[in-house]
């Protein structure tokens, strides 16, 4: 029985991670897992005709063996996200705040309009924004952008504001792996700059 047919749409058959259809049929309740799995899902009739319980809840995070595994510490976050624009919490806070205001203007009770995800996210980014001032946020990004950081790395640093070089490397292990920072001093300068912004915010 498919509990929520509409979610089928959320999984286009060309997901980033390939799904090996023959993997794991052992003792599994997803009898339909097989080469016809996706086909079956995108054809609602077939999916609906599936015996009850055959498809219950499942997900498609099946990963390929080995290296393709996701690991943010090694910047393995998938092509799509590696290229995408990453947002620091403080930036998200600005965006969501603005959107919330808009909604407020449109409706008296915006809380009923927004999704729980929105609400939770807004609470979260407000709580964990290191910088509140939009100018400061801009400056943070600017400073970090000088250092050939990947978007993801940049945002982790911006979010967590490590105080020491050691901490920075622990938070973003990929800093060390590539040879962008010849020495720790470069990192230290960067961290100092960030803390200055915070100080003068």
């Amino acid at each position: 029985m498919i509990k929520d047919p509409s979610f089928l749409l959320w999984y286009p058959s060309s997901t980033r991670r390939k799904y090996n259809p023959y993997r794991r049929l052992v003792g599994s309740t997803t009898l339909i897992v097989g080469s016809g799995f996706f086909r079956c899902l995108v054809e609602p009739e077939a999916a609906a005709a599936a015996p009850s319980g055959a498809i219950s809840s499942f997900c498609f995070t099946a990963k390929m063996s080995g290296e393709e595994e996701e690991n943010a510490a090694e910047l393995k976050i998938g092509e799509e996200f590696l290229k995408a624009k990453c947002l620091m919490n403080c930036e998200v806070a600005l965006i969501l705040d603005r959107k919330y205001e808009q909604l407020q203007q449109m409706s008296e009770d915006p809380m009923n309009q927004i999704s729980q995800v929105f609400e939770k996210s807004l609470q979260y980014v407000k709580r964990f924004s290191r910088y509140k001032n939009p100018d400061a946020v801009r400056q943070v990004r600017e400073i970090l952008s000088r250092h050939q950081l990947a978007e993801f790395e940049l945002c982790v640093l911006g979010n967590l504001s490590p105080e020491t070089v050691e901490e920075a490397i622990a938070m973003v292990p990929s800093l060390k792996s590539r040879e962008r920072f010849h020495n720790d001093e470069a990192i230290e300068t960067m961290l100092n700059d960030l803390s200055l912004i915070k100080k003068f915010e």
Binding site: D4, T29, V33, S57, T61, N112
Partner: protein, 1080 residues
């Protein structure tokens, strides 16, 4: 090649100690050892099994021990021991073929032996008659190299092992020792030493004979034949030994080559000889072979099979895990502590299941009154405890081990040691669970500390299933040079697994023996347990402790501990046990006390049910039998602002303990919503709330609808005005009887909000919407007159809701239907009246509708409903059982073809009876209640699923909708007296009977026999089935306005019956399904 042989031969002097080498090595291996006789070196080694006296030795060496009596007639180039014999002058008939040997040593041997030429096959053949062997052959697994060498070491320093010494004596016993023995030993020692030293210089023994080489060793026509000789049962071994003795006595006179008795073959022995006459000659005079015994030849092709033994038949070794098959301990895990192959007995170690009280009673001589019904739980034996209960515990020392004896039961370290037949244990697919092993380990730890983990692991390996590794598995090497190397399985090739190492700089793939590998997981992996107690559970790996994983179960969010080997990586999310009986996790169930709730947790024998108490989260432990039924019907409810809430809508709770929580609605029943909030940690995230305490919001599909709800009590005319744009959607696929306004009345009544028709009185024929139900009175807003009237409840029928639905769709459907529906026309005037008020409008807002837009989803909810077909509720409404074959609605679910489908009278009828009988329910869609109409939910969930289509059947019943015929009332789904039914009770043949009386709960009294003169029985509605009338039969109309009327079936047209009604003499076309044959 599968295995390598460790082969030993025995000189005539059977007590020859050399045998120990092989035995030792085998017992050291402690693992599967099979007997397999092969034509390895061109010598057909026939074997007799060891003498009964041998059994102690046997025990130690496991099944490997079968002295063979064979007569080498031809030697192989590689048969090193044999030429070693020759060196020592083995012509006298002494010869040695002893000590472990590997057939794949061939090459080294050749290299080393300068005399090789001297041993060409022919030459050897000439010498053949001179020797005689007792051949002992055993197979060990190819990884046995070290062990063999260990055995060798042992041999070099003899006598260090008491047991072995013992064993040696045992073996000697049956045979007379001779003086030369010691000499033999020394010679052999030297020889073996030499060989092994050579071997150690050559590191690689892994070259194995190819298939072709093996083929070459098979017997051919030139070889002696194998004859099967019948002998006395149970004397097989004796006969073989007799033949051997005879050979010893007579020497080459006896022209047989070998004799063999097989343990598993009763009544026969095999003799190898060139001619049948030779066999006869040899057998002559033997007491246990009858002179008349027939001697048959074994075809060449089958010769090898005679002496191949399937290794699994004797796949039992010490420390192996087995399961008991019978008795008190049935299914329990046991550990083999001793194997007696001869007597086919196994001593196993078990966690005892003792009922001390019962023992006390027994010892006291009291009669044990009742048979033991309860299986005592497994618990380690505690001598002190037993003593306290005055049970005598004796201490006994058997074979250097201390045992505690209670009666005949032997205990050691709290475990029961039990000797059972090999037949009563199962050795295949024993998959000890973590818990079981832990039990064993606990006691074990006290004994020998931490060394257990590894042992467990190795025993687990032995229990591993075939095909354990699959491509893509992450594995780690656990033994050998590559230990700790991680990689991924690329290919599995029998026992070898090709892995792609993680480490750079290594070859792309490495072949590793399966046994050296273990699955490997990292914390954070999502896995599924594929065997053991937690089978089926999935979760995230929290921690890896050697071969044990701690997993956070997806379902329970609790830790479970499993073996890495029992787990596969999987993306699937399920929970362990999620189902008992028909009830599954997250099902909405009706309990016996008529309360209901959602199953939030499934335990092994009970459920945790979150009860429908909106004030506080109240969950109860409920056993299977306390659950009455599963509530599967889709229902709707209205939120605070009168928005229709359907399952899957996201709502937010506005008041109560869970205020502020939100999530999708999973179940709706009697105005209660069960909301799943994934962020809520209790009750699997389920929250129960009153529908009115919630507001639908739009994670996915709501939101703007709320406008409609702003003025909750606005009349629908108000609604009409607010959304003129929606007034006349050309396609309408929304619930025909929408629940809009249903709760407008002071009390909840499923009737409220439905469109009904007044059957009699001054407003007869008018239709209107029910505003309120007050006792027997119903306040109706007439559609044609903008007027509220109050009529008696019994004077209305709500089937008209379908016409109103019709009306909406009629734009499309008229064409084809008109000719058949003369009565339809009058309905049209209503049309323009309240289009906005009709369900159309709501249809737009319902989430179902949203789904209807979704091209991928539309069918699903509907189909689901049908596919799953709730047998229970079908059963409860016998009347409709025949009347509404589930297939029908499928006939035209095609989108866009709605015009062809007329809403069936069934559907409309369907709603009615229930609504009457469950007037107090806010929703008409009550599932699983007696009398509930199975069709009804379909109209709710099915309809919206079909975009633009009229999902209704092209049912002719539809005709009736318009005609006054319809208008059934409360009893709609009941049987009627006097009709013929088939009573089908489970386990009995169906019997014909006549319904005599129908009770309010749907059950009825049926008089058996076609004329009703048999016994009278009371049957449940689900057990009866109406008899389908044939042409010219007298019938009774079971539903519609003319329910109860009798008539004659004057013709059948497909699913339609042409009926001449008795009273009016009208001819009607009615669905066959609503016609029942009348008792004559």
């Amino acid at each position: 090649m599968l295995t390598r042989a460790v082969r030993t031969s025995q000189p005539v002097r059977f007590g020859f100690p050399r045998r120990r080498v092989a035995q030792r090595s085998q017992s050291l291996l402690g693992i599967r050892v099979g007997i397999e006789l092969r034509f390895l070196s061109g010598i057909l080694r026939y074997k007799t099994t060891s003498h009964p006296e041998d059994k102690r030795g046997n025990r130690l060496s496991r099944k490997s021990k079968s002295p063979e009596f064979s007569m080498p007639r031809r030697r192989d180039d590689d048969d090193e021991e044999e030429y070693a014999d020759d060196d020592r002058g083995g012509k006298r008939g002494r010869f040695i073929d002893d000590a472990a040997e590997e057939d794949d040593e061939e090459e080294e041997d050749e290299d080393d032996d300068e005399d090789e030429d001297a041993y060409n096959p022919r030459k050897r053949k000439q010498r053949k008659g001179a020797s005689m062997f007792i051949d002992q052959e055993a197979i060990v697994d190819s990884d046995g190299d070290e062990e063999e060498e260990e055995g060798e070491d042992d041999f070099i320093e003899p006598g260090t092992d008491l047991v072995e010494e013992e064993e040696r004596h045992v073996h000697r016993r049956p045979f007379a020792a001779e003086e030369e023995e010691q000499e033999d030993v020394d010679a052999l020692e030297r020889q073996i030493q030499q060989r092994y030293s050579m071997r150690s210089m050559h590191g690689d023994f892994d070259e194995e004979a190819t298939d072709v080489e093996q083929q070459a060793l098979l017997p051919s026509v030139k070889d002696p034949k194998l004859w099967m000789v019948k002998c006395a049962i149970g004397r097989e071994r004796e006969v073989a030994v007799c033949l051997m003795q005879k050979y010893i006595d007579k020497g080459s006179e006896l022209q047989i080559r070998s004799a063999i008795a097989l343990d598993h073959l009763k009544n026969y022995i095999y003799v190898e000889a060139e001619k049948e006459a030779h066999v006869k000659e040899a057998c002559r005079g033997l007491r246990n072979i009858f002179s008349s015994a027939k001697i048959t030849i074994v075809p060449i092709k089958e010769m090898t099979e005679v002496l191949s033994v399937e290794s699994k038949s004797i796949d039992l070794s010490k420390d192996a895990w087995v399961r008991m098959k019978i008795g008190t301990y049935k299914g329990d895990l046991a550990k083999v502590v001793d194997v007696d192959n001869v007597r086919q007995k196994v001593t196993v170690q078990l966690v005892p299941r003792l009922d001390l009280q019962a023992i006390v009673n027994k010892l006291d001589g009291k009669e044990v009154g009742k048979k033991k019904t309860i299986l005592p739980p497994p618990r380690l034996f505690n001598a002190d405890e037993a003593k306290e209960m005055n049970i005598r515990v004796e201490r006994k020392r058997i074979l250097h081990e201390d045992y505690e004896m209670v009666g005949t039961m032997m205990f050691r370290d709290g475990f029961l040691h039990k000797t059972v037949s090999t037949k009563s244990i199962s050795t295949q697919n024993v998959q000890p669970t973590f818990d079981e092993l832990e039990k064993f380990q606990k006691a074990g730890d006290e004994m020998d500390g931490g060394a257990n983990a590894l042992r467990n692991f190795s025993t687990l390996l032995a229990n591993r299933k075939k095909g354990h590794f699959l491509k893509g598995d992450a594995v780690v090497v656990v033994r050998g040079d590559l230990k700790n190397l991680k990689g991924w399985v690329e290919k599995v090739d029998e026992e070898n697994v090709h892995i792609r190492p993680k480490l750079a700089g290594l070859p792309t793939t490495l072949a590793v023996n399966e046994r050296d590998l273990c699955k490997h997981f990292e914390p954070g992996d999502h896995v599924k347990v594929v065997s053991g107690a937690h089978e089926g559970a999935t979760g995230l790996v929290l921690k890896v402790e050697d071969h044990v994983l701690i997993i956070l179960s997806d379902a329970t969010r609790e830790d479970i501990r499993v073996f890495a080997d029992d787990v596969v990586e999987s993306s699937e999310t399920t929970s362990g046990i999620t189902k008992i009986g028909d009830y599954e996790l997250h099902d909405l169930v009706l309990l016996n006390d008529m309360s209901f709730g959602v199953i939030v947790h499934v335990e092994s024998e009970a459920f945790q049910v979150l009860k429908a108490v909106p004030e506080r989260p109240e969950s109860a432990r409920v056993r299977l039998r306390e659950i009455k039924a599963k509530l599967e019907k889709k229902a709707n409810a209205q939120d605070r602002y009168r928005n229709t809430v359907s399952p899957k809508d996201v709502v937010k709770i506005l008041e109560g303990h869970a205020k502020g929580k939100q999530g999708p609605v999973e179940h709706i029943y009697r105005g209660m919503l069960f909301i799943y909030d994934r962020l809520y940690n209790q009750n699997s995230g389920y929250i129960c709330a009153k529908a009115q305490a919630c507001v639908a919001i739009g994670g996915a599909r709501r939101g703007s609808d709320r406008n409609h709800g702003v003025a909750p009590l606005t009349s629908r005319f108000g609604n009409l005005r607010t959304s003129p744009g929606f007034a006349q959607p050309p396609l309408s696929s929304k619930p025909p009887r929408d629940s809009r306004g249903r709760q407008r009345g002071g009390r909840f009544d499923s009737l409220v909000g439905t469109t009904v028709k007044i059957r009699s009185g001054s407003f007869k024929g008018y239709r209107g919407r029910v505003l309120e139900v007050k006792g027997q009175d119903v306040r109706i807003e007439l559609e044609s007159q903008m007027k509220h009237v109050t009529v008696n409840r019994n004077l209305i029928t709500d089937t008209v809701s379908v016409p109103s639905f019709h009306r909406d769709s009629s734009r499309y459907s008229m064409g084809s239907e008109t000719p058949m529906h003369p009565s339809r026309t009058p309905l049209h005037p209503y049309m323009p009246r309240d289009p906005g008020a009709t369900p159309i409008h709501d249809g737009m807002r319902t989430p179902m509708r949203d789904r209807a837009w979704n091209p991928y989803a539309p069918m699903s909810p509907a189909r689901e409903n049908w596919e799953d077909g709730n047998p229970a509720s079908w059963g409860t409404s016998p009347h409709y059982q025949p009347g509404t074959p589930p297939a029908r609605p499928y006939e035209a679910p095609t989108p866009g073809s709605g015009w062809a489908n007329t809403p069936g009278g069934n559907y409309s009828d369907a709603g009615t009876p229930r609504e009457n009988s469950y007037a107090s329910a806010p929703s008409p869609y009550l599932p699983s209640t007696p009398g509930v109409q199975p069709m009804t939910p379909s109209s709710a969930s099915y309809l919206p699923g079909t975009p633009g289509g009229q999902p209704m059947t092209p049912g002719n019943v539809g005709l009736d909708v318009m005609s006054p015929i319809i208008g059934s009332d409360g009893e709609g789904n009941m049987l009627l007296p006097d009709i013929l039914v088939n009573v089908c009770r489970s386990g009995e043949d169906s019997l014909i009977g006549v319904v005599k009386e129908v009770f309010s709960d749907g059950s009825c009294k049926v008089a058996l026999g076609s004329s009703g003169n048999g016994d009278t029985v009371t049957v449940l509605p689900s057990e009866v089935e109406m008899v389908v009338p044939k042409k010219s039969d007298k019938i009774k109309i079971m539903s519609g306005a003319q329910r109860g009327a009798t008539g004659k079936l004057i013709g059948i047209d497909g699913t339609d019956g042409i009926v001449k009604v008795d009273d009016t003499l009208d001819v009607k076309i009615l669905d066959m399904d609503i016609l029942a044959k009348l008792a004559p």
